[in-house]
Symmetry: C2
Subunit: 433 residues, 2 copies
Amino acid sequence: MAFKVGLLGFGTVGTGTAAILRDRDRRNPLLQDIEIGRVGVKSLDKPRAIALDPDLLTTDLESIVTDPDIDIVVELIGGLEPARSLILKAIAAGKHVVTANKAVIARYGDELYAAANKAGVYILLEASVGGGIPIIKPLKESLGANRISQITGIVNGTTNYILTQMTEEGADFDAVLTEAQQLGYAEADPTADVDGLDAADKIAILASLAFGGRIDREAIYCEGIRQVSAEDISYAEKLGFTIKLLAIAQKTENRDNTLQVRVHPTLLPNAHPLASINGVYNAVLVEGEPIGQVMFFGPGAGEGPTASAVVSDILAIAGILKSAGKNTALNPLLSCSHQDYSAIAPMEEVVTRFYARFLCGDRPGVIGHLGTCFGKHEVSLESVVQIGFQDKLAEIVVVTHDVQEKNFRQALEEVRSFSALDSISIASVLRVF
Amino acid sequence: MAFKVGLLGFGTVGTGTAAILRDRDRRNPLLQDIEIGRVGVKSLDKPRAIALDPDLLTTDLESIVTDPDIDIVVELIGGLEPARSLILKAIAAGKHVVTANKAVIARYGDELYAAANKAGVYILLEASVGGGIPIIKPLKESLGANRISQITGIVNGTTNYILTQMTEEGADFDAVLTEAQQLGYAEADPTADVDGLDAADKIAILASLAFGGRIDREAIYCEGIRQVSAEDISYAEKLGFTIKLLAIAQKTENRDNTLQVRVHPTLLPNAHPLASINGVYNAVLVEGEPIGQVMFFGPGAGEGPTASAVVSDILAIAGILKSAGKNTALNPLLSCSHQDYSAIAPMEEVVTRFYARFLCGDRPGVIGHLGTCFGKHEVSLESVVQIGFQDKLAEIVVVTHDVQEKNFRQALEEVRSFSALDSISIASVLRVF
């Protein structure tokens, strides 16, 4: 029995996927049953790293998703359209779908999974989060009996590379971004990565799987790393923290049906398992009952790792088709059974610690004034340190205890209004894990 | 549709498993379809942490594995017999099997999987390695397209706890073992853990899955941690290493069909991802192409984590039964398709670095003599350090470059014969990663 795969897109990940599928010398015997049926490309003339039979190539992607010979459509073109429409057409034509496209799933998951369930086909998406790291399948299947309380991930390799370089070289964001672009670790337009949008797509997917409800992508708080400065990284280090862009999804304490889902740069204690994840690597920490903590670590992107995840999804579908045939019900562990949206708490209600850096005219009583502003809004301080001077202004770094975001913001307003009189300016504000 | 589970054994893991299965408030809807049908125990009168309907309990374990109402037999009694016979009888009666028993799989996997394939049933074993960490399923499924080159694991929590305590407290093995026994982290008879036998069972299972061949358990080199001293841990630290009990399976370079499979205490460079895995935690590092490196980290034992893995296997079988019915072929991704034994290289052929500590009469030329002995057997040295004195003897620590184990052993023989004349004694020998 042979299963035919139609690839939509033949860039880096498509090339890696084809390389694995055409290699007949791998240990998994199921691979022998999988054939590349069609490959949809933008241009037929472009030179390719892998020489495919020219008859396989087409620029007509719609003809692939409706081709009666194709069993599994692998969507690797990325972005929202035409990816969404092609996936819907593939589903309507009874094809199973494998995708690496976090954006389309995070935004149209509701529509896509409803269509897939109706048609009795799978949409598998291991490659959409964490590149080659097995995380989707373990979360759905291996940890399926757990009550997950929190997922914390470093899920964007570009920003983790930039923050690691800034930490190791003491360099500024702009300089490291330029370097990352030259090395191919960052896109020419880095917005999706450095502003946290890619991480938000991924945590939307993980939260949906972990907590069993759809996630409104627009409700996710999303703050990128552009404003993280070399100074803040250096001060964080002195205080025993590493700055990482974290994607966090957790249950709200005492409000069981409300989630917090957010992406922001975070001061992470050096002893935290995620603090030592450097460079382009990704890691996802899952906490739940009765499992406790498990962490998955590996390459978050790249041709080979992402292709490994794509092919694992193709294998999963081929394994089912081979053992159970085509006309069976969907396996509830591999399909998507939830339909309701999870309530997401507004950011003002989130309780977290904060780090704030202030520049102050060096006059007596400044620290006292800061303390008064915070105290008025029930912000209790863990430490206040005058850490140095910048342009004759004293730099004061404050780390709070757990506080509601709303109260902290109000305290900052108080500092701001006060600062008009007394020359205190707020240089930076970051959250602390 | 309800699936009935028969539990063999109702100790810690059995109790944890029952606690999850009886909890009707978990997110996974498939859990609603699973019922505890029978529970096999040693004594009906023992007080239990979970009150089960007394009608479910029986001391007649054979009656469970042949009960026509039972769909899935969960073997949690451990050890070789009667576990092996009960599993075989369950298979013969057409039951799927879930087991946490590494010993029986490592030794009788051949017989058990042959029987299961013939009967068309699954034997799933997520809980047998790494407790709650998803590692078996990711290795079989998510990484199924990869050519694995090496698996390196900290897979025994007891020895990792002991080594961590020895490192943190500078304490000796015997003292920490006693403490670990009092805390319940080590058994009254600690042999299986501290002599590396449990780790060897586990690496046999992982190697079999990763390299697609059966593993002769008796061919695994196995060295425990009894001989690791507080001195060696301290000297290793000074040289930038942490001592861990590693279970290693790797392809032999230039001999593609031969594996090295071994368990021994190892000096691991502090920057290695496994060096920071402390206490009772486990972690498994998988290396392959095209994935690169992925690591799985979490609780390697314990009621809740192990039960999480057991229930995930029960869910996997229930998911298949629910979607595809009972009369389908085995899914090749979840069953065991290999039948041949992998060739395992003898330990003398293994190439590794070594650490050795010598006690020498403090006379001129001793280091020169050591160097001569090593040089004669092509052992090239990375460092030779006189690190201190003990009872008026100089302590010299040697770290070699990569060397064939055979050559290193011959060099040690040379030192031994030489030492009769010149009072050099070999205080310890450990491998270096």
